[in-house]
Structure formats: C-alpha cells, structure tokens
C-alpha cells in the first residue's frame, strides 16, 4: 500500500484554561485527544461528529492554525508538527481550508476578482494582468461567469458563494483540501450541484479531501472512508459502505438512527422495525 499523503499520529489539542493566581484555575479542555488518521492521495475522508466533538479543531490543527500539544503530523512522510504557527502554516502550504460560512469569509467591500487575486499576490505573483487571467480562468473552472470577478459578495447566492470560496482556495494550488461543512445551509437542489462540483474538481485538480460534516446522507454518498468523532476521539473508522451497512460503535449507530430518512416515521425509541432488525443483525454479525 502506498504511503499516505497526510498522516496524523496520536494528536492531542488542549483549548482554553488559565493558571490561577489570585483567581480560579481553569483546566484546559481536551478538544482532540489521541487522534490518528491516514489520508491517502485522491481519496475523500469524511470526519463526522456533532458540534463540540472536536472535528473543526482537528481540521484547524492539521492546517496549522492551532498548535498541537502532543502527537505528530506527517505530510508526505515528513513531520510538520511542533512548529510555531507561522512556520507551520508555510510548511503545510499544500493543505488549504474551505470555510463553512462562505459569505462571512469574503470581504464585502472588495469585489470577487480582488479577493481572489490577493492570494496570488501573497504567493508572489507580481504581474497584475497575469493574476487577473488566472482568476478568470478559475472562476470559469468552478462554473461561474468570468465577468463575475467585478461583482461583490452580496450579489451572489449561497451556492455561488461556495463556488467563489472554492475558486479562491484552488488558485493556491493545494493538494489537500479541508472542507468544513461545505453544504450546510444550502437548499437540497443547490447542495447537489455543489457536491457534484467537488467531485469534478477533485478529478480535474488531483485533490484529496478531508470532508468535515454532520450530514450523514451526504457523507454516505460522497466519501470513500469515514471517521466518526465523539468527544475528541475517533470512535470508528472504515470504508463508508462498511460503516453505514454495519456500524460497530454504539455512538455511530445512534448517529445513523437520528438522520432523517425518506422512509418515514419511526417509533418513539427512534428505530423503525426495519432498522431495529438491521441493527440486531449487525450486533450478531
């Protein structure tokens, strides 16, 4: 088996907490505790969990915005852990992050073209005309009119804003994308087109996705492998079809049962007869 492109070993992250001197000592929260993950080139790994499970903190730590307290992060087999934040961020340039709230991540006073070109400028692309050329080509690649470079964020719909924020990140030529709830708050009809775009871009730009989500029905369709996170730990990982067909951990089963399905209403304990039977079968298996 090939070497994973990104490897996380026993990662722990503590958040908050303060030393007590003339005031109360507050112990830090272990937001991520002892997490190990492998991300292989070209795959989509979904990180699933409820709010407060530590999935966003894990994403931010892999990205280098949050320092790890223990453990190792290997990018292409080389350790990039234990560095100060700015050095860490440079070492992990191949990893980029797509924000959950696309609208909030864009400057309302800058037109889209300027916002997108800024990343290229920071990367040292001096020629303004060449920058604009790249921006227009990338807007076309994500399915937007190149002319929309002149427009402002408020002129776009929710689905279009997701495309803009994807274009901005793709201009930086990442190899690994961390997608934080890329479809939350979108209509079902728009959600489908955004997911389609993600699959298409992965092929075209040879990307690897770490897909953070709590929407199980989307995860089931989109991802190759799934890691279920609960209270800072990964409780179950496996191929998506295996995990969804035969969830092993009780928390995974609880999550699966809570997802709204078109098959209709369930009894008050949250399980339909069919589901109870399949869970029973899973227990015996």
């Amino acid at each position: 088996m090939r070497e994973p492109i990104l490897s996380v070993r026993d990662l722990s992250v503590l958040l908050g907490g303060r030393r007590g001197f003339l005031r109360k000592t507050v112990l830090p929260t272990k937001a991520v505790s002892g997490v190990s993950l492998d991300l292989h080139e070209g795959e989509i790994l979904a990180l699933v969990g409820e709010s407060g499970s530590g999935k966003t903190t894990l994403g931010r730590t892999i990205l280098g915005l949050q320092r790890e307290n223990a453990g190792d992060i290997l990018l292409d087999g080389k350790s990039v852990a234990g560095l100060p934040p700015d050095v860490a961020r440079r070492a992990r340039n191949a990893i980029q992050y797509v924000h959950q709230d696309a609208g909030a991540a864009l400057d309302p006073w800058w037109n889209i073209g300027r916002t997108l070109a800024e990343g290229l400028l920071i990367q040292g692309m001096k020629d303004a005309a060449a920058r604009m050329e790249r921006v227009r080509a990338m807007l076309a690649a994500v399915g937007l009119d190149p002319e929309s470079a002149r427009r402002y964020p408020h002129e776009f719909s929710g689905g279009q804003l997701r495309r803009v924020s994807l274009a901005r990140i793709l201009l930086l030529q990442p190899r690994i994308l961390i997608l934080d709830e890329p479809t939350s708050g979108l209509d079902m009809s728009v959600q489908a087109t955004v997911l389609n775009l993600l699959l298409d871009l992965r092929k075209r730009f040879a990307l690897t996705y770490l897909f953070i989500s709590h929407d199980l029905s989307v995860v089931e369709r989109l991802s190759d492998r799934v890691a279920i996170m609960h209270l800072g730990k990964i409780v179950e990982t496996g191929f998506a079809r295996d995990v969804f067909a035969r969830p092993l951990h009780s928390y995974t089963r609880e999550l699966l049962n809570a997802a709204p399905r078109l098959t209709g209403r369930r009894t008050s304990d949250g399980l339909s007869a069919v589901q109870t039977a399949s869970v029973g079968a899973a227990r015996r298996a």
Binding site: S157, G158, R221, L262
Partner: protein, 318 residues
C-alpha cells in the same frame, strides 16, 4: 370539521425599487385540526412570506392582492393590528423561530422574557404563569425547569434554547403553532429529539402544527400532510405518504431526487427560482422542468388531481 388553518389562494406583492415583486401568487395550504402540515420549497419560494402573512407581520410595502386566511372560522386578513395582538398572536397562534439565539434577548433572564408574553396574552396571575412555564419546561426535558427561568440564554446549548422557545410558543396555550425551520441549526441527534418531542406535543396539547422546512427527510419523519411551494405557488398538496410514494408534479419529483436517499448521483435542479419581479409566462417551473411541453409556456396550468389524490398544478394533470 373546519380546518385549523386554511390559506386560500393567497396573493401578496411587495413594492420595491425595481418594481412590484409578486412574492405569493396563489398559495393554498390546508391544515386540518390536530395534524402537522409541512410546507416545502427552495429558498426564495415564498415560505417565509407565507408565515409572515399568517402572523400579520408582512414587511412595509407589502399588499394583499387576493385570497383569504381562514383561522378557526375567521379571516385573519381583515383583522386590525390591535385585534391581532389582542385576539390572535401568542394567545391563539404560537411561533417557533429558526434561530433560537436571535429570538432571545441576551441581557434578560429566560423567565423574564417568557413571562412577558404571558402577561399580555395568557389569563391568570403571575404565579399561574410561572407554574405553567415550569410544567412546560419540564415537559420539554429542560433540566431543572424552575432554575432555568433564572438563567440567561448563553447558559443553554443550541438544542436547549430551541426547547425553551417551543415552551414559549406553547405558553399561552395556542391552538395553532407555526414553526420556521426550527431544526436546521441543530445536529442530527438533537434534531431527531426535537422532532420526536414536537410529535408528542401535537397530540398531548391538542395543537395543529404548520412546519416550514426544505428537508424532505424531516417531512417524512414528522408531518402528516405536505404542501410543496414553488415561486409563490402551491404546486402539489396531499398527504405525506401519498406524495412520497408517488410524487406527481415535476418539481416535487426533482426535489425528492435531490435527497441523498433517492439520488443516484448528485444532479440537483438546473437553473434557479425565477425572480418575483419577472415571472415567466405560463407554468413557472417550465424553464427548469425536464418534462416540458409546448402547452406549458402558454398558460398557467390549472389545479388538477393526481391518482395519488394530491392536488397538482401541472398540465399533465389538469
């Protein structure tokens, strides 16, 4: 038996700088007493305007061009602001908002905020009100109900805040409750608990529930009846079971096909909801419809009936 709520051919337009926006153009919803009706549609279809019309809180510049809103035998549209406040809002129609944090004032205690509405709209003394709130919060499974009244909104989690607001909606014992996507901001497990709770409350408190959502999964789980709205028009209405088994209108079929449970691949619906400023002639869904015929572009289709029993607005059934 008369329905708890019957919106009949409602038409609403709003004057804007760019012209007149026909936001609602013939919307009809029937909510039978003691049942849950789901109102489904994409953003921009007029779901929120429908709610605002029922509550009588339409934005400035809005005018009602036609239709009736029957509530317990009375047309709400002829009520004055004062009558709505004294006789309808809170006391007979409760409201559960989408974002529980925005609906609560961060600087006042929960008890202060919830009792304020009861002071104006519920009979009885303050002591009765507190007793009822404590009972309701206990029923909503809020831990330490009496203590909760003394706490502030930030001291509750998202799911608990939603429980507080469900209690607030039921505080004055209304017959009708309107919920505007109350679970979209919640985790799946929390959403599931809230949906189960709502189902129980409908039977227990004898209320009728109008539930607005864009998630068919939630509809399948919670609702008895379904009303699909597209571009300000009711396009399909019937029981949830019949529509999920045999969706008739192409828009309903397209929406259902977007649900990950039914989709083979991520197709979506091409195009966008037409702007209320410039609606196309003929069927409003025609530009995005996969099954469009020449007749569709000529005239607005009349309401027909599908084999499933659902009322459908499509030339194939009229």
């Amino acid at each position: 038996m008369i329905p708890a709520l019957k919106v009949d051919g409602l038409k609403i337009s709003i004057r804007t700088d760019e012209g007149i926006a026909r936001v609602l153009d013939d919307v009809s919803v029937t909510l039978e007493s003691g049942r849950i009706v789901g109102v489904v549609g994409e953003s921009g279809c007029g779901k929120s305007t429908l709610i605002r019309a029922i509550m009588g809180i339409l934005p400035r510049g809005a005018s009602v061009d036609g239709g009736k809103i029957w509530f317990e035998g009375e047309n709400l549209l002829v009520f004055s602001e004062k009558e709505l406040n004294q006789r309808v809002r809170a006391s007979r129609i409760g409201f559960i908002p989408q974002d529980p944090l925005q609906a609560l004032n961060p600087v006042f205690k929960i008890g202060t905020q919830l009792l304020e509405a009861m002071r104006w709209h519920a009979p009885g003394s303050r002591r009765d009100h507190i007793a009822r709130l404590v009972m309701l919060l206990g029923r909503m499974q809020v831990p330490d109900p009496a203590g909760a009244l003394e706490r502030y909104p930030h001291q509750f989690s998202g799911g608990q805040r939603q429980r507080l607001l469900i209690a607030a909606a039921l505080a004055c014992a209304p017959g009708l409750v309107i919920a505007d996507e109350p679970t979209t901001a919640l985790d799946v497990t929390t959403q599931h608990q809230i949906l189960l709770l709502l189902r129980e409350l409908v039977a227990e408190f004898g209320i009728s529930l109008l539930f607005v959502t864009h998630d068919f999964g939630v509809v399948a789980e919670l609702c008895d009846d379904l009303c699909v709205i597209y571009a300000g028009q009711t396009v399909e209405a019937g029981t949830v079971q019949s529509i999920l088994e045999a969706p008739s209108h192409p828009y309903t079929r397209a929406l259902l096909a977007c649900h990950p449970d039914r989709a083979d691949s991520f197709v979506g619906i091409p195009g966008i909801v037409p702007s209320p400023l410039a609606r196309p002639a003929g069927c409003l869904f025609a530009p995005r419809c996969g099954d469009v015929r020449p007749l569709c572009r000529e005239a607005t289709p009349a309401q027909g009936r599908a084999r499933s029993g659902a009322a459908v607005r499509c030339v194939q059934y009229s």
